[in-house]
Subunit: 401 residues, 2 copies
């Protein structure tokens, strides 16, 4: 098979007829690299379903060293994808984490081999509800099995096996990505040398579930959703998905950031129009957020991934005691929160730190002073960068890198 | 004309043919009392529109004293109405402020004559977008002029004129009701002896505008909304309105209250169903909130009233200086906030208090320790009750009541 670590050599188009080899096939499409697992390599899911065949789309940056000890796994957030370093194939925007990851950056692609895969259940090349169900020849829609954070991590582990990477130097991610980091450290402790969960929690709060439920109901209320069969119906629930995105987007920011960016400023004037036009700049901004999101995201994937976050409760999986999720771990942790993040407030990070302390795990905790809200992990936050650089550099020394 | 202060005497049904008297007519329907203002008594609105004819539906409790000095005006919140003391004609539930208002309560209907009117633009008997436009014979829909908080207050003042009440002993309300209280004190200072704005702000924040905009977009995204002409179309945008309500309802509560009430408890079981059913109790609760709301509220009215709150900016109406809104006032104020209210946080109340201080107004400020969020003003909050009782009793003594 092609060398999966050299994209230039991995030239099999993803659209070619399925191969039936026992080894996962290696393919390449505009979304990046794709690892395909055939019927004999199903993904065993928490729901009890076995997903097969399935594929994982991913991107890499940097070079794996000969000892294969310098691999970093980046886990993306709800509406993120594998395009962390390279321009996005749909939007053309720079990779979403070029602030933190790249040559000379805190996660230095000159030193580390960095992998990021689109999560199972999403829509950027990995198998999800918009993929074709081989049993029917039509898109899965709601027949796709419900996905959990643990299912995402299992699929990532299969990808790493496929890439010949036994263990990770670092596993890092924010928000839903941070949930995956915690799940990695809990499920495969021997495979994670260092873990950096950012702006996340070990479980989704009632308020967060509530916001997600409103988003799902907005999608399902759109007649164009067609009970999830919109791909066959030739419709797209863009209005519902747009409303869902608008509502969610508010929770990614902070009241001070909204005030600073928009305040009560009027769009193109200094007075209200006495209409339902987007009078205020904040309205115009939100509408734009909704419109641009629906161009790049699948509505059913949004349902599945929000559900996965809602279901996440690492303590519940370990007898109700979060420390048990990390018992005996050798992984070193750096937990990061942001002062103005009200979606995953610092208290959620503290709960993780307390559990890690109880499990005698080495843990650093950084609360970054920021008014940018939850999305701060994606933005220019020098204190985040210096914390990440310090943690990663120290871990590299400990790892002999 | 009938004595408007005695509901038993005000027997004209609201549905009878319009009278053409110069005096507003007095009518009664299941929604309570209705004061009707004919074409010669238009409501002059901030948009420049003149609304005529129009009517104001209201309820009263208690008896006006012979000196007419014991009148209290209650201003209701966004989705509230005039049924503060009596069971609601649609839901059958007790009056919405029987916690605070009633015989022997802090606002004592044995001592005071209490009036509450449905705001202009709403849908419980006062003229709004669901009312018939006499020019077309069809419902106004979006042809109804945009409404402001000041328009609501002007209509209330016309109602008080109609009732022969020159000035108010007390003007009180929470949330959008509190905005009206502030507007009353600013617009008609000589008519307000005491004012109690609760859980409110002198302007709507960018985040609050954002949440409202999402709700409006949810309604407008519903094809059954039919560009606001759903009454003629024979449809109802119930799904969109339900989604709007679900989202808004989250903002009325607090994260601690949601955690206490629902946490991550599953509906009818202890495990996820791996489906998009309402697995969590919080989901079921929110869906119920959405469903029950659409039975009692008009979607266009929701658009208009959210817009009125968004437009509210009392300082902007006074050269950008909030203190100017209260210059020379003789009104005494009690400003109340709740510690867990993140829709109108204590900082918003402090800004009001600072402005009142700068205007040399007598003002008391009470921050009630509560984890119930914004809706605390409607709930059993002993510290709110004692603060209200103390303020009202002292004002009554000062007023010689």
């Amino acid at each position: 098979m092609d060398n999966p670590l050299d994209p230039a050599l991995a030239a099999t188009p993803a659209t070619e007829p399925e191969t039936r080899s026992r080894e996962p096939s290696q393919a390449r499409d505009p979304a990046g690299l794709v690892a395909r697992f055939e019927a004999d390599r199903p993904l065993t899911m928490d729901s009890g379903a076995e997903l097969a065949p399935f594929q994982v789309a991913y991107q890499t940056a940097g070079t794996l060293n000969s000892a294969r000890t310098n691999a970093v796994l980046i886990c993306h957030a709800l509406t993120g994808d594998q395009h962390f370093a390279h321009p996005h194939p749909v939007t053309g925007k720079p990779g979403w984490w070029t602030t933190l990851v790249g040559p000379g950056k805190p996660i230095d692609t000159d030193r580390y081999f960095v992998v990021c895969s689109n999560v199972i259940g999403s829509c950027m090349g990995s198998t999800g509800p918009a993929s074709i169900d081989p049993g029917t020849g039509a898109a899965y829609g709601l027949d796709f099995p419900l996905v959990t954070i643990r299912d995402m991590v299992r699929a990532q582990a299969m990808l790493l096996d496929h890439l010949g990477i036994d263990d990770l130097f670092l596993c890092v991610g924010g928000s839903m990505g941070g949930m995956q980091v915690l799940q990695w450290a809990s499920l495969y402790p021997e495979r994670v040398f260092a873990a950096m969960p950012i702006a996340t929690g070990a479980r989704h709060s009632a308020q967060n579930i509530a916001f997600h439920e409103v988003g799902r109901q907005a999608i399902m209320a759109d007649p164009a959703w067609a009970d999830g069969r919109y791909l066959e119906a030739g419709t797209r629930p863009s209005k519902g998905l747009g409303v869902a995105r608008m509502g969610a987007h508010i929770t990614y920011l902070s009241e001070p950031a909204l005030h600073r960016k928009f305040g009560r400023r009027f769009q193109g004037g200094s007075a209200p129009t006495f209409s339902f036009n987007a009078d205020f700049q904040i309205e115009s901004y939100l509408r734009h957020q909704g419109l641009s999101f629906v161009e790049r995201f699948d509505a059913n994937a949004y349902l599945y991934l929000t559900r996965a976050m809602d279901y996440f409760d690492l303590a519940a999986d370990h007898g109700g005691v979060l420390a048990n999720a990390f018992k005996g771990t050798k992984t070193r942790f750096c937990v990061v929160s942001f002062t103005s993040d009200w979606l995953f407030p610092t208290a959620d990070s503290r709960a993780i730190v307390h559990a890690l302390n109880a499990a005698s795990a080495p843990v650093a905790f950084v609360e970054v002073e920021s008014d940018k809200g939850h999305d701060a992990f994606l933005l220019d936050e020098p204190m985040l960068f210096s914390a990440a650089r310090g943690f990663v550099d120290a871990a590299a020394r400990a790892r002999g890198l």
